[in-house]
């Protein structure tokens, strides 16, 4: 029974209709922009763009869920940063001696910088999730197989095994729940259960390996090059990727996205920043406007 699953599924969206190589490049451009830019407003614009792109690709709900789950990562980043970095000048709380963390002078700069780093991490998580939900892994691995066949196939298998093993684990857990006295308890019981899980996984891996053997893995050769005409979506997302990349470089090199946290917050918002934000939003989202030829 599947409710929501974080696996690629072909949906009717421009991003899904784009060839995997371009989709991956587009995601890479977004990631690069995230890494290069620090201005909070620009990062928020990028966050909005990624979330809207998720909606445009039909995976908005999954992205929102990923964002909620991502709190496990970004929340500690903010807390640790504000506790560890005391270089800011605007103190908003004095907690005294915090042992290994030194004097507990919590600063606004530390808080904001932590939030910026957390935002960047969050963005990277969302972009990765968006790519894994919308870029066909088989097509992507096909490209990689031309470079390193075995590594690509191993990666492909690992991806395929994740849902299979997840289903196995679910089945085993259900079976143990139906025991009259519940699942085995205590250290010995847990070890026995772990052994059963590992044994089951190895059995699965053996079966998959046998399948690969009879499909010719041993004698496998490089995947043939497939000539495929460029669709309107391929072109649109390729242009979008270059535009995002160019805007990121521009933002990095000019004052439009300049940002300093220490010793005092410095994040000027001028016309350049606004243009950069609008530019990024447009570059990311415009390819989603054309919804012709996007059959699932």
């Amino acid at each position: 029974m599947k409710a929501m699953s974080f696996f690629y599924r072909r949906l009717p969206s421009p991003l899904h209709a784009t060839r995997a190589g371009v989709g991956a490049l587009w995601a890479a451009a977004l990631s690069l922009a995230t890494l290069l830019l620090y201005h909070p407003l620009v990062l928020l614009a990028l966050l909005a763009a990624v979330l809207c792109a998720g909606v445009g690709a039909g995976v908005g709900r999954l992205l929102a869920r990923s964002m909620r789950t991502g709190a496990i990562v970004w929340l500690p980043i903010v807390v640790v940063n504000v506790l560890v970095y005391h270089e800011g000048v605007t103190v908003f709380a004095r907690l005294g001696d915090l042992g290994p963390f030194g004097q507990g002078n919590l600063t606004v700069e530390g808080l904001v910088y932590g939030a910026v780093i957390a935002l960047k991490v969050m963005l990277l998580i969302l972009i990765t999730t968006l790519a894994s939900l919308t870029v066909d892994p088989d097509q992507l691995l096909r490209i990689l197989r031309r470079l390193s066949f075995r590594s690509a196939l191993t990666a492909s298998l690992a991806m395929r095994m994740i849902p299979v093993l997840a289903a196995d684990a679910q089945r085993l857990a259900e079976a143990q729940q139906t025991r009259p006295d519940g699942p085995p308890r205590g250290a010995r019981g847990r070890v026995a259960l772990l052994r059963a899980v590992i044994g089951g996984s190895l059995d699965r891996a053996m079966d998959v390996a046998a399948t690969l053997e009879v499909r010719g893995f041993e004698t496998a050769r490089r995947a043939p090059r497939v000539a495929r005409p460029w669709s309107r979506h391929d072109v649109a997302f390729l242009v979008s990727a270059f535009a995002v990349f160019a805007l990121a470089i521009l933002g990095r090199l000019t004052a439009a996205a300049s940002f300093n946290a220490y010793p005092e917050l410095h994040a000027p918002i001028g016309i350049g920043t606004a243009v950069l934000c609008v530019g990024l939003l447009a570059a990311v989202l415009l390819p989603f406007a054309d919804r012709r030829g996007i059959d699932a």
Binding site: M4, R9, R61, D138, S156, T178, A192, T211, E213
Partner: protein, 557 residues
């Protein structure tokens, strides 16, 4: 004379660390274009023979191998499975482990790409195999979204994509519902007839495919015990291995008729020749609900004692997904045995999971008259210890006849024994469960083990336990249940006595019922034979037939 496509020459093979050989002095030859059925009880060497044919034995599994196997002239000792894969496509039992790519198109293309075909050849091969198997609409679907039947077809497509001369199939229908199973066998027959593909199929439910095959090879203790046309096999099974007899053959043997039929059509022709099958339309002669059963059903409605299990308008709706159960209302009395039938995805497993509390209904209510013991599909999922004695209390082991095996490793048990151990685990030794629910318990089981399980369920039902079994196997349903419920799309679409439900259909009907057009509600060979004897004696009237059939039916009212 053509050279054999596959030949075994005095092959003996033992798995690593096992003294008893899985194959023992096996010699046989399979000609191009043959459709062969491998028969035999569980653990008698069918799968090993298939694995030896494609080179997995000994290259992948290791062990001691003696003798010679040649496939298309290549010695399997010198050529591994990858090289032999160009000549033999293989389909194993579990489709889940045979799909290695994310999309159907990539799955079908993998073997072709591995063999160095060019882009155009790969694309053409994928397109052709998809069209041939009727899976062209699935090409752009992701593999983990497919149903069990679809996965099995895609796995078959992947095995066939390179147009191998030989296809080896290991119980490919064991996880499929009767409709998908029959479709798969029909498909194999078509491949064999139209493409002249040689097929070697290992299967437990022989009645499903016997009429389609040219030859049957029966294995016993790893040896070839019988090798001949279906008629010869059935004659041999009749006196040497009754557990391999099909229901039709058993029906004829019990009724003292001959020749032994390989399928329903042949059986009906023989009966017609003996004037034992009236020329009337089946619907006119079939009286699906015997008077006694009607009376009992009426009694049930009037008396309504406390139910052992009651579903009251139960819905199960997935968040952002479809409804799996749609307002199911069902009442099971203590001592009643119910067979839940329907296609894959009809909602049977979900219904049972709700009974055991593994799932909560999104709407509706479930009431239980006591503990519900649920036995899930894979008995291996219950085993976490090294010894049988550690898995279940001694009393429970004794109750299922496993007391003597307390010191053995659960994973070394046979299919039937594993199922009984799992039954001992879920029932435990304390209070007897009020309800015993079993989800597809006969998957991969041979007929003998199924018979033993059916008897065990009958015993429990007679002790007052309510038994509810989800199954795709009409023969098993007829043997263990007196009521059948047919589900489709999350709803109960038919609910009646087993005689009523399993006698009148094409797919959800026993072979005996299909032969006799459901006459007299006879489901099992014993009931059918009694009916035929009555007809032969010239005293046949529907009422007499029904009486005769139901008088001898174990537990059938």
């Amino acid at each position: 004379m053509t050279a054999p496509l596959l030949s075994f020459d005095r092959v003996t093979y033992s798995y690593p660390g096992v003294d008893v050989p899985a194959l023992s002095d096996v010699s046989l030859e399979i000609e191009p274009g043959e459709f062969c059925l491998l028969a035999g009880l569980s653990g008698h060497g069918k799968s090993t023979l298939l694995r030896a044919a494609c080179g997995l034995v000994p290259h992948f599994h290791g062990g001691h191998f003696a003798g010679r196997v040649t496939l298309s002239g290549l010695d399997t000792r010198e050529h591994g499975p990858a090289r032999l894969g160009a000549f033999a496509g293989v389909l194993f039992q579990d489709p889940e482990t045979q799909l290695v790519m994310s999309s159907v198109r990539a799955e079908l293309a993998l073997a072709l790409e591995n063999r160095g075909n060019g882009a155009a050849a790969v694309a053409r091969g994928v397109e052709e195999v998809a069209l041939a198997l009727g899976i062209d609409s699935l090409l752009d679907r992701t593999t983990h979204d497919l149903s069990g039947g679809e996965k099995q077809r895609v796995a078959l497509g992947a095995a066939l994509a390179g147009r191998p001369r030989l296809v080896l199939l290991d119980e490919p229908t064991s996880q499929l519902d009767p409709v998908a199973g029959d479709e798969l066998i029909g498909l194999l027959r078509r491949l064999n007839q139209e493409w002249e593909t040689t097929i070697v199929l290992a299967e437990h439910r022989l009645e499903r495919c016997l009429s389609s095959v040219d030859r049957v090879i029966a294995l016993e203790q790893g040896r070839v015990a019988c090798d001949g046309v279906p008629d010869a096999f059935l004659s041999w099974a009749g006196h040497s291995s009754p557990a391999l007899q099909t229901p039709a053959a058993k029906l004829f043997a019990l009724a003292g008729l001959g020749p032994v039929p390989a399928g329903v059509r042949q059986a009906r022709a023989t009966l017609r020749a003996h004037q034992l099958l009236p020329d009337e339309e089946p619907s006119r002669i079939a009286k699906p609900q015997p008077a006694q059963a009607r009376a009992k059903a009426k009694l049930r409605r009037v008396a309504r004692p406390a139910a052992a299990l009651e579903y009251d308008g139960v819905w199960h709706e997935l968040r952002n997904g479809p409804a799996i159960l749609r307002g199911v209302t069902l009442r099971v009395q203590p001592g009643e045995s119910v067979a839940l039938m329907g296609r894959n995805g009809a909602g049977k497993s979900t219904l049972l999971r709700h009974a055991a509390g593994l799932l909560e209904p999104t709407r509706g209510r479930i009431g239980c008259g006591g503990r519900v013991a649920l036995l899930l599909q894979n008995p291996g999922d219950y085993f976490v210890h090294e010894r049988v004695a550690e898995e279940a209390p001694a009393q429970a082991l004794a109750a299922v006849g496993l007391a003597q095996m307390a010191q053995r490793n659960p994973r070394d048990l046979s299919g039937g024994e594993r199922q009984r151990l799992a039954l001992a685990i879920v029932t435990g030794s304390g209070d007897e469960p009020a309800v015993l629910a079993l989800d597809e318990p006969t998957r991969g089981m041979d007929r003998q083990a199924k018979g033993e399980l059916a008897q065990e369920l009958r015993r429990r039902s007679e002790r007052g336990q309510a038994v509810i079994v989800a199954t795709h196997d009409p023969e098993f349903a007829a043997a263990c249940a007196d009521r059948a419920v047919l589900m489709a799309d999350g709803r109960v679409i038919a609910d009646g006595t087993a005689a009523e439900l399993l006698a009148g259909g094409w797919y959800f009907a026993t072979e005996t019922a299909r032969i006799l057009s459901g006459a007299g509600g006879a489901l099992l060979p014993e009931q059918g034979a009694e009916l035929l004897r009555t007809r032969e004696a010239g005293a046949e009237t529907p009422t007499d037939g029904q009486r005769a059939a139901h008088a001898i039916a174990p537990g059938v009212t």
